[in-house]
Symmetry: C3
Subunit: 343 residues, 3 copies
């Protein structure tokens, strides 16, 4: 593909050395990985230096870079343009493969048009799978579970009974949706299981990473709101309600009955206690722990408080031995003064 | 079902507006989820306010609530009564489905009466499965592994070779029992694998959440004691011994050869070092880290110490920048005093 | 097997009571698990006391232990000798089982000599599996994925498309290699997915625990270097590059585009931010968090700093309430002195 064609596709403007339109582009790659023939991009001026040493044949930029020997393609939003290009160059349309005779599909399950159900997938009684949805090998769908249209359920995923999944949802391998919530009544020295008879609702455009656990509700539903993105190895307890367009990074754990607003960001390994409420727009730093009623803000620490205050406290924390010494010195000096000036 | 019938079943007493016996109950749900026709419950007075705004048609209570317009059902232990009701209303007895012809069952495996072995389950040589146990689709049982009676092994579970599982054990989807312990000998720049030839013993009435990893022992056995409940995404290292009736919340990690007593509670994301011993009855707060010989107590922090002391230290931690400033002021004032009163 | 034969195999020297050569050894086990007939070992003098109460019939030692009633076998490296013995006594050679007719193997997949492909394994178009490699039940290999020689891919493992795996690699159950990296562009209130079109390269002699997630690169490759060992439930983000012979303990999370050198040790539950670089030989303590450019050293804390300094700061942290009180007393005393000595 010639850079000129890519420029038309991305509605960009070619800059740099003359003849840029004719440069042959054979692939797209990030700055560090790009080889000759590749087009790359810089999302921020801090990568300017690296672009000069890149082996790429062209670079997508926001503003023209002076003195650069390779062709440039100016667009309004380089990273977005690069993502569109990746899709154009690499993402093949999945062609529906129908229902494999090596899959197990209950006679009481319904499947839409142009679905793909691969070998060793298991669709229980009452399952409904929407149009163009892909169910990969070894995936399990429990009784009466509904998966919407254009979803991808990757291999070795388990979706238990009575789960409702919207459209364009992606669930990566190894994830489990609808395992029993962790609920017991302690009585006479024994933890007695509370039946977990609720369900899970996953709204449209949610993406769930690999090896994620989303527990079903005791009663009612565990809910993950439209457009929310969940990274790998995340724990979502029973009856949790997550709003729309949240970003939940890897290894976060969210305790039972917690409610999280819209556009909340939880960084890696964050812990959220059970019965917590988190206001929309809140951001929580990596490895932090939050609980109670969390109003909109940026938080860090375990337990977390205001991120800026936490940063300052952390600076002093590292100096604690020094502070300790200063206090001892102050005490000595005061004693000396008091000795010299008795009351 | 009429509330009168439920009252008989739960051995409770109807209170509230007259005619409560005749109220039609069509479901049971938690306070937040309950709709008209549902019966709900309050486990503690702090939810009293919410019951007044609930849409439920009846509520299970310990003590009668004044001025409440909906029917009340008085019982000694509302939460327990509610759990029994959930079981009555929603939990269908699993009817044994026998051994699917789409499962792989070795000729050298034995299965008890009324088992269910679903399609794409794999039972290796020497496997024994007890009466009424359910092996879900895509589950794997390794050589000579024994699963007791009335167990449920959910879909996509792996139980490796030489694992012994008691009766009434539930293992949720995606969990792995008996993966190799993490043991190497470092020699000449290389980590040489130590064969992990021990097994795993899981005693009666244990429940293991989804995506849990329990490693097999190097020699001997990794042991999980009777009645212990393990949440999702928990790591249990090789040769760990966990006592009876413990509660291990999501994403806890327990290092190799650690021994944990009975009735220990580890909150979410706790880390326990290898070769640690934890006395019975100990409780550890979320995200804390423990190591060494831990005597009975309540702990928090990483590394953890007495929970109350930790709470106090955390309060001061948040004020560290202020403390730092105070110390600087004290130093200034002392200098001034010394200047005015030279020795 | 007689102890004399074991001594020849391990090139060791028998010591202790006379007649040691003739002692019958029926098994090998760790100190705590050893029973009569077993041979055990002590790796360090701190276990000396335990060996006197052990039920073992013989013990592998470095230096002869006085007054011990059981036979001793002196070797240079007891733990290594014990590991070799475990292999000799317990590890059976896996005899190739060929390709099961219950597996799904694409006509466009290639398999080497003496492979084992078990029922319900799925090999996509373009897959290549090397000689003597074992693919366990319910494992999934995506399009054009290459697995080298003498690998073991355990049950319920997912290896997505375009992944390259070297020789003698072990991947434990439930792990997912090549799930999509977590990359979105936020635009007009929506997180737009960035296609993840790169791959994963896993070099020779890597071992990956159970329920591990390794994301594929956006472009280029996520790389795990030769001989690196990864424990259970670890998260490895997209475009991460891990060097050779690293040790990554359970539940570690490594953010996207991070580069880790050789011989790095990350203890349990460590978090590494995205775009971090970690120099070879670095060690990070359990539950710590690192970010930025990390030069060779030993680190602890979240955020982490020098391990020794952190230890000292932690000691003071526990005394913070006391320190706070001291500062208040100093302030009081100073006020009193100033009152008595006005400027």
């Amino acid at each position: 593909m010639k850079l000129g064609e890519i420029a038309s596709f991305l509605k960009g403007e070619i800059a740099g050395p003359p003849g840029g339109e004719a440069v042959e582009i054979t692939g797209a790659a990030g700055l560090g990985d790009a080889q000759e023939g590749d087009i790359t991009f810089i999302a921020s001026p801090k990568y300017l230096r690296d672009v000069f040493s890149s082996k790429a044949s062209a670079v997508i930029v926001k503003d023209q870079v002076s003195d650069l020997k390779i062709a440039q393609l100016k667009v309004t939003h380089p990273y977005r343009a690069f993502a569109e290009l990746l899709k154009l160059l690499y993402v093949r349309q999945h062609s529906p493969s129908g229902i494999s005779s090596d899959a197990f599909v209950s006679g009481k399950a319904q499947t839409g048009d142009d679905v793909s159900v691969y070998p060793f997938a298991y669709l229980s009684d009452g399952v409904r799978v929407g149009n163009r949805t892909v169910i990969c090998p070894n995936a399990f769908l429990g009784e009466n579970t509904i998966v919407g249209e254009e979803c991808v359920i990757h291999s070795n995923v388990t979706i238990r009974e009575n789960v409702k999944i919207g459209n364009r949802v992606i669930i990566h391998s190894g994830s489990v949706i609808g395992s029993d919530g962790f609920g017991y009544i302690f009585d006479e020295g024994i933890h007695n299981k509370i039946p977990q008879v609720g369900g899970v609702i996953i709204e449209d455009d949610v993406e769930i990473g690999s090896n994620v656990s989303v527990d079903r509700a005791t009663t009612g539903n565990t809910i993950i709101g439209k457009g929310t993105k969940i990274d790998n190895l995340v724990q979502i307890g029973h009856n949790v309600k997550i709003g729309r367009h949240c970003v939940i990074i890897a290894q976060v754990g969210i305790g039972g009955s917690t409610e999280i607003g819209d556009y909340v960001t939880l960084a890696g390994q964050v812990g959220v206690s059970d019965h917590t409420t988190v206001e929309s727009g809140t951001m929580v730093g990596a490895q932090s722990g939050i609980m109670g009623q969390v109003s909109k803000g940026i938080y860090s620490g375990s337990p977390a408080f205001n991120h800026r205050e936490w940063l300052k406290a952390q600076v002093v924390f590292a100096k604690l031995p020094e502070l300790n010494k200063k206090i001892r010195e102050l005490e000595e000096k005061l004693k000396e003064i008091e000795r010299r000036n008795p009351a």
